[in-house]
Amino acid sequence: MMQFTEIDVRELAPPEPMTVILSALSNLPTGKGLQVHHSRQPFHLYDKLIAAGWDYQCEKVDENYFLLLIFRPQD
């Protein structure tokens, strides 16, 4: 089962969540995914993630609380 590194960006104002996500992705060990606790859907990130070879899943947990999983498709 894939392991995920967890980050919480719910209390950050734009563009900090994106900076934290990018930095976490760049430091992610091979085979690991990233789990992001977010206050909204980072829509504008999605097509760039796909373009960069990542895949994602986003689930609404609650009002203003989204769980985003980012991983490599082959993993």
Binding site: A13, P14, P15, M18, L22, S39, R40, Q41, F43, Y46
Partner: protein
């Protein structure tokens, strides 16, 4: 809601919103020219042709111009949607909006028929095309979020404003489709200011305040009902203005109070000029809403100015313009940073070229701009009492919007410089 693998439209190229943003302060400089040209007499009646030109310079040249540019970028960020063929649609609607606004201003100033004909064609084309493109995505959008619903209402209000405006312009050219009276102008103005600009700002605030300032969400009752109630009241106004206006004023007073409350509850209490703009806007809106309730008889005895003119000045300049300018100062560096940052997904090493977000817009510059905006708002109100002081307002406009233009050019230049640096670095590796 699971959105795995769905395709979302990304941000449109940054030069598209930039061209709308850059045009806006230029129109305000034209407005400053109108203030000097009109002199003292401009402020004596709301029907003065130069005042009509000035109002359309503010509302089409600045407010609509910035809102069109901002929507191009805000929709992908907050709703994951983007208009189709953004380059074609934004380029055409921007060019025709610029031409239409120039023509409507010149048409009012010089009274030439061909200018008004040209304004009708350009504005109908520009707004019509943009509305069509936005309606396309807003109808398709799966989410029924409160902001999306607010956008739909604002867009519908813009369509109604446009149609009424075209009828009014056609009447100026001798086509009397509807009996001439000033009520139609009031309806047009209210749909434009309260419907299009007001509803859009309300809908945007539901997203932008919690997102950028880490503030709590607006109360559910407000986000679900306020925009719809205002929209319905605008229809009631067309038949029974005496019933609709007090309720509309009350709705806006409630919004202003809730806005102040939500801003106060924000978690990020760091000094932020855009927060000051929102607060100034909320206080001005509250003031305008309360002033409306002063009975006309009392007003005429104690205040020697046109009540509608004062309320319009507070609503357009101190409320709408404040928010739009505050948002510009927030989204200009944010967009520049975000666009560059997205390039780092492919190559993280490019992050080294991106400066801190504050370097895109110097905090001190935005603080100065806010101070000048406070002064220009005060001078506008002062001019209504003392029209001979029109030159003070004209000078403040010149200073404020030259400053905004310079700030924008600096931010955009830095963006293009860094973008080029990242491209060159990518070519080398």
């Amino acid at each position: 809601m699971n959105l795995s693998g769905l395709s979302f439209n990304g941000l449109p190229p940054i030069d598209l919103p930039f061209r709308f943003f850059l045009s806006a302060p230029i129109f305000m400089l034209v407005c400053a020219g109108l203030v000097f040209m009109g002199g003292e007499s401009l402020w004596l009646s709301r029907w003065h042709p130069l005042l009509l030109a000035l109002t359309h310079g503010f509302t089409l040249g600045f407010l609509t111009m910035v809102m069109f540019g901002a929507l191009l970028q805000l929709l992908p960020v907050i709703a994951g949607i983007s208009i189709p063929n953004p380059r074609v649609i934004a380029s055409i609607s921007h060019a025709s909006l610029v031409l239409g606004t120039v023509n409507i201003i010149l048409g009012f100033v010089y009274g030439k028929d061909w200018m008004l004909y040209s304004a009708i064609i350009c504005l109908a084309f520009s707004l019509g095309l943009y509305l069509l493109a936005l309606s396309w995505v807003l109808i398709k959008r799966m989410s029924q979020g409160d902001s999306i619903r607010g956008f739909r209402l604002a867009i519908s209000a813009l369509l109604i404003t446009l149609l009424l405006g075209l009828i009014l312009l056609a009447r100026n050219l001798g086509f009397e489709w509807i009996p001439a009276n000033k009520i139609l102008t009031n309806i047009h103005a209210l749909w434009g200011l309260v419907g299009w600009a007001g509803l859009l700002i309300i809908a945007v605030s539901f997203q932008v305040i919690p997102m950028f300032h880490v503030a709590p969400s607006f109360p559910k009752l407000i986000t679900r009902c306020l925009a719809l109630v205002i929209f319905l009241l605008l229809f009631v106004f067309m038949l029974a203005p005496a019933i609709a206006m007090p309720i509309l004023s009350l709705c806006h007073a409630v919004f202003a109070l809730v806005l102040l409350y939500v801003i106060r509850q924000r978690k990020r209490k760091i000094p932020d000029t855009s927060v000051r703009y929102w607060q100034l806007a909320a206080i001005s809106l509250l003031l305008a809403s309360l002033l409306y309730f002063i009975p006309n008889s009392l007003w005429m005895s104690y205040l020697p100015i046109d009540k509608n003119l004062l309320l319009a000045a507070l609503f357009i300049y101190a409320y709408l313009m404040s928010i739009i300018q505050g948002m510009l100062l927030k989204i200009l560096p944010f967009l520049s940073y975000t666009h560059l940052q997205q390039r780092c997904l492919v190559d993280f090493s490019a992050m080294q070229f991106i400066p801190h977000m504050h370097e895109f817009l110097n905090k001190k510059h935005s603080q100065w701009l806010f101070r000048i905006h406070l002064i220009s708002s005060f001078f506008l109100i002062l001019v209504l009492f003392q029209p001979a002081l029109y030159w003070l307002f004209g000078l403040a406009l010149l200073l404020e919007f030259s400053g905004l233009l310079i700030i924008m050019i600096k931010t955009m230049s830095l963006y293009f410089k860094i973008n080029k640096k990242i491209s060159l670095s990518a070519e080398k590796t």
